[in-house]
């Protein structure tokens, strides 16, 4: 497909994200799932009393 002038300059971050997306994922578990797992572990720690109080 022909390149248009708009393709010439894009932000570095956008290019990096797009490049990463083109790579074959080498994660067995997606970062999305890791984030859920971390949240559930923290919830379990708070629920079980291992974490008493989180200040803000």
């Amino acid at each position: 497909m022909a390149r248009t002038a708009e393709h010439e300059i894009v932000s570095e971050e956008a290019r990096t994200l797009a490049h990463k997306a083109m790579q074959k994922p080498n994660w067995r578990i997606s970062p999305d799932t890791w984030a859920v797992a971390l949240a559930l572990v923290l919830t379990a720690l708070v629920w079980s009393g291992w974490i008493k109080r989180i200040p803000w």
């Binding site: 300059i9 932000s11 956008a14 797009a18 984030a35 949240a39 923290l42 629920w47 989180i54």
Partner: protein, 360 residues
């Protein structure tokens, strides 16, 4: 003397190194986020000590502004970038933890209204963006990516669609750049318009969740208005994110037929792969809170954990926004995105104001 032999480094990209690469950027996220919180508290303390009534500017705005200043003055060295990219990870963990502040009944009521509005918003914006892309002579796949990005959920939706429709890297990076640039604009314009119109927290939060593309910016735009609006924005955005799989599946089938390539195979597996898992985590924690599994102190702790996670996200939003990059972009796709965004923002504003009586 034995000849030297180049030994490949088998552990060059092992888990330890991958984690180590995240550390500098993570520290920067923590430092910027905490600086935002520190500035907010310092101003409040100063006002109290000197009996002054100072405007209460939330840590959200300070964290974003400090990040913006760093990113656009000294810049972000390469060593910090892997860690900075984790702000999406903290966002998703924060959303799951935020589930503890929602009773499932509220989720179903607000989420139900949101879902109806989401379906209308997605349908109209997909059609509108596609027509706009054609009118401006953009390539069909760039048009598809911009339509998906602006109708559902910004960067995540574009990345989910990229592999499914076999778009190339240039189209993908351009669509991501346009969505990020427009998200940064929405971040500051939405709260101003919301205050100008005197919108309630619920209505504004719903509007931010429906109208702002990227999840991080939608969360920040909601939190900039008020804590309650931030909660609703996250819920509405989560309902929108839940639709990613269906829209991407539709586009994948369309492009496979158009190009005569292999289809998507098992559609249920495809939907599961593309479905944002944090939506399930959010619903699970909300169900546990509804079942009164947590006492009030624990709910406060979980809500505070969610705030800390969002703090890193807001710092990341500022740090990754580069105004010079935004200004360098070509005009046509940006114009298509901008016109589409304004149309979607107006449409969703009309929908939210129309649905206001169902939200009480």
């Amino acid at each position: 003397m034995a000849a030297s032999v180049a030994i490949p480094a088998p552990y060059s990209d092992n888990l330890f190194r991958r984690v180590a690469r995240l550390i500098p950027g993570l520290f920067l996220l923590i430092a910027v986020g905490y600086a935002g919180k520190f500035v907010e508290q310092s101003i409040a303390r100063y006002g109290k000590a000197h009996h002054l009534t100072l405007p209460n500017i939330e840590y959200v705005l300070w964290a974003i502004l400090i990040g913006l200043v760093i990113s656009n003055t000294v810049g972000i060295p390469a060593a910090f970038r892997p860690g900075l990219a984790t702000y999406e990870f903290w966002l998703k963990a924060g959303i799951v933890l935020l589930g503890s502040r929602f009773i499932l009944g509220d989720v179903l009521k607000l989420g139900g209204v949101s879902l109806v509005l989401v379906v209308i918003e997605i349908s109209v914006s997909l059609v509108f963006m596609t027509a706009l892309g054609r009118a401006f002579g953009l390539t069909p796949k760039l048009t598809s990516l911009l339509a998906i990005g602006s109708s559902i959920c910004g960067v995540s939706a574009i990345i989910a669609a990229e592999g499914a429709i076999e778009a190339d890297e240039e189209d993908t990076s351009y669509a991501i750049a346009a969505v990020l640039a427009l998200g940064a604009v929405a971040l500051f314009t939405f709260p101003l318009i919301g205050h100008w119109l005197g919108m309630s927290d619920t209505s504004y939060g719903l509007w931010a969740g429906l109208g702002v593309d990227n999840t991080a910016e939608a969360t920040a735009a909601g939190a900039l208005y008020s804590d309650a609006a931030g909660k609703v924005a996250v819920l509405a955005k989560t309902a929108r994110n839940a639709m990613i799989g269906f829209v991407v599946l539709g586009y994948a089938i369309y492009w496979a037929r158009k190009q005569g390539t292999a289809g998507v195979g098992n559609k249920a597996a495809f939907l599961w792969r593309k479905f944002p898992k944090f939506v399930l985590g959010f619903l699970l924690i909300s169900a546990l809170a509804t079942a009164r599994l947590f006492n009030p102190g624990q709910i406060t702790s979980l809500a505070n954990l969610s705030r800390w996670a969002f703090l890193l996200t807001f710092a990341g939003v500022g740090l990754r926004t580069n105004i010079a990059d935004m200004r360098k972009q070509g005009m046509r796709p940006f114009l298509v995105g901008a016109i589409g965004e304004v149309a979607v923002a107006l449409l969703t504003l009309g929908l939210v104001l129309g649905a206001a009586r169902f939200l009480q």
